[in-house]
């Protein structure tokens, strides 16, 4: 339900310490140090200046839970289509687009990153593939995939692995390869392609890295186009085939086939969205299991209790949301919680901060699976653009948690915590590599 934002709502600003004042003045979400350890910056913004203009990024950062909720419930005032488009290859957008037209078989705007009413019909189509009940049917197969990946790691026999590169990334890629009907043996390429697509909305590219990433995206598109053309001629039992042959229902009940351009964009979005973010969630899970006292024991104690395990996963997604911030753009001048934002301004909904809002989640840094309002977290966004693959993501992370706990024990970080590197991006908070040691259970 789209509701127009109420412009007369304001909530209290809190006094900041001198350190927080300084952080607000000097800090930016474009700073990789802040990206890696963002909580103090989030708190300073959320308390003192909840809709904060980050001059270095040229974006308004929305940091309170109530404001994130209000903005995402009004998709007309706050456009995803313009926000996403503006953020993509920011400042170099024309060159990016031209490169893909020349080398990537075309420029395919993301059909799902659009506004109502166009968005509504595309979204409806995607929703059918991702209901919680359909996802439940996939659980036994996904469990096999996860077991296989962990078994391979254990079979190396040295009790060491890179939890991100050897487990989190392979698990999510194998799942999406099967679901979409892509070719096995392409996992490394798919991983690089995913990173390249995500980098386009990360706001951290130089011209050189933008072009390197564009070359990878061009390669990805060429691969998908060839796959999709083959599916056009001989349909198969997978999601690529479903999308190639999909029809969308218009508001008046008439049906229309997706255009090929729309279908390419949706296959690409499915490949990327379900991949990087879920892998990030599993990587973050290893991080908390190896660094926070009591976490591995807590997981072990809930692993055979479906209800408590679901709560553990939801609290994990609240506590360590993979997606840090996504874009919107104002379609008119608008006042949000006392701050007036001009028309055509770029905004980032900072989910990482919303999930830490102490007015919604008391003691937000505490990991508490007994929270009574876990469903309010914004790790999946909210409103009409709420993550469409959320049930699949939850299930993949849950299966991973279960299998990790059942097969591995005494997991420890193999590098000092201070050496953990995060991907330079405003869009996600992603650990790039996480060497650990473990024993086979």
């Amino acid at each position: 339900m789209a509701t127009q934002i109420s412009q007369d709502r304001t909530s209290e600003r809190l006094d900041l310490t001198p350190e927080q004042e300084g952080l607000l003045e000097q800090g930016s979400l474009a700073d990789t140090t802040i990206q890696a350890r963002p909580h103090e910056y989030y708190t300073a913004m959320r308390h003192g200046d909840p809709i904060h203009y980050d001059a270095r990024l040229g974006s308004w950062l929305v940091t309170r839970h109530e404001d994130i909720s209000a903005v995402q419930s009004d998709p007309v005032t706050f456009s995803v289509q313009h926000g996403y488009s503006e953020q993509q290859a920011r400042g170099m957008r024309d060159e990016f687009e031209a490169y893909l037209r020349e080398h990537g078989g075309g420029y395919f705007p993301d059909a799902i990153m659009s506004d109502p009413p166009y968005h509504t019909r595309i979204r409806k189509l995607m929703e059918q593939a991702f209901t919680a009940h359909r996802v439940k049917e996939l659980e036994p197969r996904i469990t096999e995939v996860v077991r296989g990946v962990i078994a391979e790691v254990i079979a190396k026999g040295n009790g060491k692995c890179d939890a991100v590169k050897d487990i989190a990334i392979p698990v999510t890629i194998r799942v999406i390869v099967e679901q979409l009907g892509l070719d096995h043996g392409m996992e490394d390429k798919i991983s690089r392609w995913s990173v390249a697509v995500t980098a386009q909305i990360g706001a951290m590219q130089s011209r050189e890295t933008m072009l390197q990433n564009a070359a990878l995206i061009a390669e990805l598109q060429q691969y998908l186009i060839a796959k999709m053309k083959a599916c056009e001629e001989s349909p198969s039992e997978d999601m690529i085939s479903d999308l190639v042959h999909a029809e969308v229902t218009n508001a008046d009940g008439t049906k229309e086939k997706l255009t090929f351009e729309e279908a390419v964009s949706l296959v690409r979005a499915t490949l990327i969205a379900g991949n990087d973010t879920t892998a990030t969630a599993i990587g973050n899970l290893f991080y908390v299991l190896t660094t926070r006292p009591g976490m591995a024991e807590l997981l072990e104690s809930v692993v055979d209790d479906e209800r408590q395990l679901n709560r553990f996963i939801e609290e994990h997604l609240r506590n360590e949301p993979p997606v840090r911030a996504l874009s919107r753009m104002t379609t008119r001048e608008v006042t949000v919680n006392g701050t007036t934002i001009p028309a055509h301004a770029h905004m980032l909904l900072v989910y990482g901060s919303g999930n830490d809002d102490e007015t919604v989640f008391p003691e937000p840094r505490k990991f508490d699976i007994t929270r009574q309002n876990l469903g309010r977290h914004v790790a999946f966004g909210g409103g009409p653009h709420r993550c469409v693959g959320l049930a699949l993501a939850r299930m993949e992370v849950k299966v991973a948690a279960r299998e990790i706990s059942r097969q591995m024990k005494n997991m420890k970080l193999a590098i000092p915590g201070s050496e953990i590197r995060y991907t330079p991006t405003v869009a996600t908070r992603t650990i790039e590599s996480l060497p650990i040691t473990f024993e086979k259970r």
Binding site: M1, N310, G375
Partner: protein, 115 residues
């Protein structure tokens, strides 16, 4: 935009306490879709009916609970995420599809989970 094809009756009390009565509800439509199409306050249906977000939470009138039935395990898992407002008669509107046996159904839209 009330659908006019059916003849089933549904009463929904929205989150502001206003009563909406529909007497031309089509068979097969879910309470989430009915609420969303008619702007019933408190029915968001973010996930689109996938039983994956708990933004179409309703309390089923006690007299109807037996006919409507209990949530399954997947639905219960979502309701558990809004445990502070979950009751014995909680259901997700997207999981209740209208059939002739539910003609006359009455539900109240649940408030959002607390702050």
């Amino acid at each position: 935009m009330t659908r006019t094809m059916g003849n089933l009756k549904v009463t929904m009390i929205d989150v502001d306490g206003d009563t909406h009565t529909f007497d031309d509800v089509e068979e097969g439509i879910s309470l989430m879709e009915l609420g969303r199409q008619n702007g019933v306050s408190g029915i968001m249906g973010d996930c689109g009916g996938g039983c994956a977000c708990a933004t179409c939470h309703v309390y089923v009138d006690d007299n109807w609970m037996e006919k409507v039935g209990e949530p399954d395990e997947i639905e219960f898992a979502m309701l558990d995420m809004v445990a502070d407002v979950m009751k014995d008669n909680s259901r997700l509107g997207c999981q209740i599809r209208m059939v002739p046996e539910l003609d006359g159904l009455e539900v109240t839209v649940a408030p959002a989970s607390s702050y």
